[in-house]
């Protein structure tokens, strides 16, 4: 398991390759997901600022990844999440799962995504010409947890 919380950009290709290279051949399925800063519908997002809770963030991500490992047959898990100031198009976060089976790899990746949306202490703020607004949590993100 590798959990990374960093301000710096990451190279999703290099991370995916390193993740695959570190894995043994028993795992025939690798799923990766990368989240990208999406512009607003109006197209005027200047900066997405991500605040987090150092210490708790790493603990929460480790707990979520450990739970995924206990629920699915996983060879390895990777979670990378950035904080600080990001621009539209920047990559915010990435998860990767390796498993002997495709279904486990996909489901575990979805589980990781659902939980780190609303159980890892990150907060997003959108900054435009008009000002700055904290992104409100969505009910559907909370509801998504009930399927697990």
């Amino acid at each position: 398991m590798r959990i990374v919380v960093q301000e710096a950009p990451f190279d999703m290709g290099a991370e995916a390759n390193a993740f695959a290279a570190g894995d043994d051949a028993a795992n025939g399925a690798i799923v990766t997901f990368t989240g990208v800063v999406r512009d607003l519908a109006t197209g005027d997002l200047d900066v997405m600022e991500i605040e987090h809770y150092p210490g708790m963030t790493e603990r929460a991500l480790t707990k979520i990844a450990t739970e995924a490992q206990s629920r699915w047959s996983l060879g390895d898990v990777l979670v990378i999440h950035r904080h600080g100031r990001l621009a539209p198009g920047d990559r915010i976060m990435m998860v990767a799962t390796a498993s002997p089976h495709r279904k486990d790899a996909f489901e575990a990746a979805e589980y990781l995504m659902d939980y780190l949306k609303s159980r890892a202490p990150f907060w997003k703020k959108e900054i435009t010409n008009a000002g700055a607004d904290w992104v409100a949590a969505k009910d559907e993100d909370e509801d998504a947890l009930s399927r697990w």
Partner: protein, 81 residues
Amino acid sequence: MDVLYFAWVRERIGLPKEKVETQAATVSDLVAELSAREDRYAAAFADLSALRVALDQELSDFDAPLSGVREVAFFPPMTGG
């Protein structure tokens, strides 16, 4: 104990962290103490349904006891991913 604030809670109260001497038995008691201090605290804690609390870096709830807790954090619902 250390009390930490994040996101708009931090902005509304005007600081990220402070040391608080308290005999509060539960999180709710601590919230009542802080809210009584100044308007900015009362404003931040006006709607507890819009807030989350972590005790020693684990998500908890407002009824939880504070005995033995060293770090309390208040923040809005998280928006990671």
